[in-house]
Subunit: 242 residues, 2 copies
């Protein structure tokens, strides 16, 4: 079973205070890029894996999705999501073992959740089976450059700020202290992620190493560092055959 | 026009002394992985962009390719390639401006050349047009983690060897000193490379961030560093429509 860090009090409090938790998708700088990868939601059957507070589920429902299913492991987050209402079904499940019904969705979305999953190949195969032909899997994850290092964190090197990369090809568990101590994530390279999708029968449609644009850096100068080491990987894939 | 560094005496001498120059594909540790992405050569029309000394061209010809065309900018390398013989046509051209005939090839191969090309999107479109439907484009390039840093080279950080990553999303020209001073290469991220292929009408078939395997590290312990920062990106793509 995946670590349920989001239900740990210190992590939940810290996460709840993040801009993306308070403001929803408007507070997630990568959202415009991710949205551009999504098909129109109207009339589609949509699932969100790792739905958190349900921000995306509500956007999908308001855009006229035929149905919206939000999945998360965190009871605290699901409780908040349900409070916010909307014509959405929320279910608690572990992405490590979740099995969705076959050919039941047109769009499976996931924001910053798959790096908590140890077995991404299993998840990719399960999502492929859950999609109707032509269905889309659109997700974001922490960029592998962010998860790779054994000691992540900017360092100074001869007056420059550099990211101390190592262990990129040493895939697997990483324990970091982010909002709480001992948060478990799984590092895997872009090649591994893409290969798992291709092996699951997906055609790759989008691959974006996200960094802030000029307008975002003007508004948040401290984000410029993200250009040195992209924080997020955004991926779009289409279910092409069965 | 692309920089013709290979015809510069100091670079050519240094390059000629590399194991991959002396031993050919057997001296290129990534070759087994790249070969696994290639379709059988027998009966295929093959082009090699940046063919160098012609090692791959001779392998393709010996494997029964219907025709083999080797393209390079370096007169010195083409002269050596022609000396070695084989039923191969060698032509001098700049990958920056090369236009191959339409639908004339089944396999376009390129080893460690596209990072010398400023406009990869143009090259991808040109290769797509040059391939018959179902044709394959299989190539290697320096991994963007290798080309990104403004000051590449391992550093020591608290007893660990780390790669000082910066400027990953700052794509474009890089000048480095490798075999000669002022070698010009072009850095672009994996997302940019893959997106250019998709935009050109390719379906991605393979994406491998290459590092040495356990047997290679046992034979060459100094290669273990490459696991911290993969040196090569290997890409396979199929021409799917016209």
């Amino acid at each position: 079973m995946a670590q349920n860090i989001y239900d740990q009090d210190d992590f939940f409090a810290g996460y709840s205070a993040l801009r993306r938790s308070r403001e929803g998708l408007a507070g997630a700088p990568e959202w415009p890029s991710l949205r551009a990868m999504l098909p129109p939601m109207a009339g589609r059957r949509v699932a969100d894996l790792g739905c958190g507070f349900g921000w995306f589920c509500r956007v999908a429902a308001e855009a006229g999705a035929a149905s919206v299913l939000g999945i998360d492991l965190s009871e605290k987050m699901l409780a908040k999501a349900r409070e916010a209402g909307g014509n959405i079904v929320y279910e608690r499940a572990d992405l490590e073992t979740l099995v969705l019904p076959e050919a039941a969705f047109d769009v499976v979305y996931s924001s910053l959740a798959v790096h908590y999953v140890a077995d991404f190949s299993r998840l990719a195969r399960m999502v492929a089976v859950s999609l109707a032909p032509g269905g889309r899997f659109v997700f974001s994850m922490e960029h592998p450059l962010y998860t790779a290092p054994t000691a992540p964190g900017w360092i100074e090197r001869e007056g420059r700020r550099v990211w101390p990369l190592d262990a990129y090809l040493a895939e697997g568990e990483r324990r970091t202290d982010w909002l709480a101590k001992g948060v478990i994530k799984y590092h895997r390279g872009i090649g591994t992620v893409v290969s798992a999708l291709l092996a699951a029968g997906f055609a790759l449609t989008h691959l974006v190493e996200w960094g802030p644009d000029a307008a975002q850096i003007a508004a948040h100068p401290e984000w410029a560092a993200e250009l040195d080491r992209p924080p997020f990987l955004l991926v779009g894939a289409a279910r092409t055959f069965r």
